[in-house]
Symmetry: C2
Subunit: 471 residues, 2 copies
């Protein structure tokens, strides 16, 4: 404790790297690649952070293979970067010190569905859509849905969230147990399949949100939920984003068990209309969904209607057919991509902050003023029921002044969220890009404790170095 | 990692202890006590584990005072034992190596109620009933309710649960942030008040369930919930405990959002009737409660009625008046004390295991057979919606053979739970009494990781030594 020392890494010596690469090439054959294109792909994330490619990529197929790779890397002090789908937003899979990327996309088995216990055991490479496709006939579903069709392992690692979190919680609330290959190659199973336990430290939550810096997750037990008997969804427009936020706050405070309550501002709706060929009214709106029985869904919608009217909400436009509902939510999930239609050639920088819900309207309103003053283009959208919103900045990377203004805006956005007792990231994670903001959010003693965890679990700093608290 | 080394403690040298005691006596005046009675009280828990008193007790009144005490103890390598209400069940507050007990019962301020954000900031000494009393006029409540009127700090530390967990989760799900005095006296705030965050490792969950072995919790931010518009509660008898369990399993699997679903066996009902002067039918029964709107509560009760009938459930006897409802749940919470009426003079040993819900009926049924064969008296009750049940053994401590049979039974109970993919404790925690079962539940690598955490955060092993993974 209280060393205040940073944890730093360096590139491994070439000889160590060669030893590891030769051994992996021999062992894994065509599941090993040092090909330039493959390497570049694996250092690329959906951000403006420059790609930093690993030295090689191995496509693992089992926990034991991952353990073998990690042991070899530990012996030679070569960095290990776990990789799911590469859809993270803050440079999580970059390899600033080189090393071996373990691509887990071939580990996508559903190991066991325990329908009667409402849980499932999966490998980390399966994506959220693949999992729900697999579960379709069981009447169960897994609710966490970040924008991208991310891998479950990646979602665990970033403590992902999404549109259903307001009702079903985040990954933190929905992981029962993990199997993790530790930085020395040991295999740890964190917990049993019991719904709750007080049998020792919460090792599961230690790895949820650790972004691969404490080990490689190779198996995950997730909670499942019954597909609701009745679902109703639709959109409701409001005279302003502030009114959307205020209606959301009132909805949450009233205890209405809304399943989804998502903000899109007028610019975002415009982009979504263009991208997904929808005809939504281009005004600030909330996208909503209610889950329950026929009667309860009807009652929830009526109650929401009453709240919405207090804040000038228009009529609720229902998406009654399942295919219309799917189209609506797919459009919401494609918001990141839709942004590009507003400014072709621009990079999208999707940043997220999360504040206590009472501060949401203020935070969003100040952010609009800030965007206007900085002359930046950015639709705003978000999981407003959790106090979490996204600013999808569309940046002309060739315009140095704009890039600088964007960087300065991002810092102000983060500081604004933190000043309102919020966090610099609600769900995207720290990766590389938000490391510099951690000291704004956490006191030195708090960061020291995080470093103590990192140092004790990964003393060689080989697990995804250069992320979270290890520079 | 993988040292497989135990972490052990010894009593501090008398000179070190004298130094600490003299300094504390001088500083804290009448808030310091080395009085025999006070010391005995503070080493006593609700178990058959023999009392191991601390060397002195200090009644702290602020985070800064706690930090000062811990720093002094760290300097002199004297153990520190945090104390709330002393209602834990596995010897959590015993002082096997002596040391200083920090009694937090004078730290019971409600620091801030953020009604609009549905959260509250409290000091650790406030009890769950005191908190809900304080919140009464806000229309909000805190749902977690272990049997005893435990302190919130203690509930965080044991990862407590209770009758509402099936709907509202456990302490793990309801703590937003903690202030913790670390073993070196540094003060760490784990997180902001945002409802979710991905800004680094989950330090909050590191301390939830750590049983005071990693630091002293001095402030807690908790989630709150709106008091439901409508509540209905009542009891439903069944022909057997198996039928109760089967009806519970079907209820959970159907997705019915029951708020409470609690099992009492016939013997437990008999004891509750005697203790709380109720006239419940002395048959296996489920106590239930539904939360929602008038219409949804009615619908939930009807749906439960349909399920219950499939398993031979009798008519649902409603507790319609709030005072009847309170009486019913108070009786449930007093079950521990009610047990004594069955066998005056006996000690109650309340043990809990938790299994995936599909195994619940089997686990309970095998446990009855085992009790009968071992000739032991124990009502069974539990939070069956979570797969969690309690066996309240009534033991004549003067009968050595019975004590031995009880110990052997406990081991079989735990092994049975673990064999069914469950855990040796769903909510009571490890303390001293369940340390020996951790290696049955967790593999060596898992326990190693727990020890790595303990060793790195508390290298001197002064924080509540002799508990969880540090012998």
């Amino acid at each position: 404790m209280n060393t205040h020392q940073t944890i730093s890494a360096t590139r491994p010596p070439q000889a160590a790297l060669d030893t590891v690469r030769d051994a992996l090439a021999k062992k894994f054959g065509n599941r090993y690649s040092a090909n330039e294109t493959v390497r570049q792909q694996h250092g690329h994330t959906l951000t403006w952070t420059p790609t930093q490619a690993p030295d090689a990529v191995v496509f693992a197929q089992s926990t034991e293979e991952v353990a073998e790779i990690v042991k070899l890397c530990a012996l030679n002090r070569v960095p290990v970067i776990p990789y799911g789908t590469g859809t993270s937003l803050e440079g999580h899979v970059n390899a600033p010190f080189g090393g071996i990327c373990i691509d887990l996309s071939q580990m996508k088995q559903v190991v066991a569905v325990h329908a009667e216990d409402l849980n499932v055991v999966v490998e980390p490479g399966i994506t959220r859509k693949e999992l729900n496709e697999y579960l379709r006939d069981t009447g169960l579903f897994f609710p966490i849905d970040p924008g991208a069709d991310a891998s479950i392992g990646g979602m665990v690692s970033t403590r992902a969230s999404g549109t259903n979190a307001v009702r079903y919680g985040t990954m933190k609330d929905n992981v029962l147990s993990l199997t993790v290959v530790m930085p020395d190659g040991e295999i740890v199973k964190t917990a049993s399949r019991a719904k709750k336990s007080s049998a020792g430290y919460d090792l599961t939550r230690l790895f949820v949100g650790a972004e691969g810096t404490l080990g490689v997750i190779t198996q995950i037990t997730l909670r499942l939920y019954g597909i609701p008997e009745a679902i109703s969804a639709g959109v409701c427009t409001f005279p302003s984003v502030r009114a959307c936020c205020d209606a959301t706050i009132a909805t949450i405070q009233s205890g209405l068990p809304v399943a989804r309550i998502e903000l899109l501002d007028a610019l975002m709706v415009h982009a979504v209309n263009l991208h997904s060929k929808l005809g939504l009214p281009e005004e600030p709106m909330l996208l909503l969904e209610f889950h329950g029985t026929d009667a309860s869904v009807k009652e929830q919608a009526e109650r929401f209607g009453e709240i919405a009217r207090e804040f000038g909400g228009g009529d609720f436009a229902w998406a009654t057919k399942p295919e219309d509902r799917t189209k609506l939510w797919q459009a919401r999930h494609d918001a990141y991509w839709a942004g590009f239609t507003l400014r072709p050639g621009a990079k999208t920088l999707a940043s997220d902050v999360c504040v206590p819900i009472s501060r949401l309207a203020d935070c969003v309103e100040e952010t609009y003023r800030d965007l206007a003053e900085a002359n930046l283009v950015a639709p705003i959208l978000g999981h407003v029921g959790d106090g979490n919103f996204h600013v999808n900045l569309l940046v002309d990377m060739d315009n140095k002044d704009e890039v600088t203004r964007t960087e300065q805006f991002l810092e102000r956005l983060v500081l604004r969220g933190i000043a309102m007792e919020g966090t610099c990231t609600g769900e995207h994670g720290v990766g590389q890009a938000k490391m510099k903001y951690l000291p704004k959010e956490h006191a030195p003693a708090t960061l020291d404790l995080m470093r103590t965890l990192k140092r004790s679990i990964d003393p060689l700093n080989i697990m995804n170095p250069g992320k979270v608290v290890a520079v």
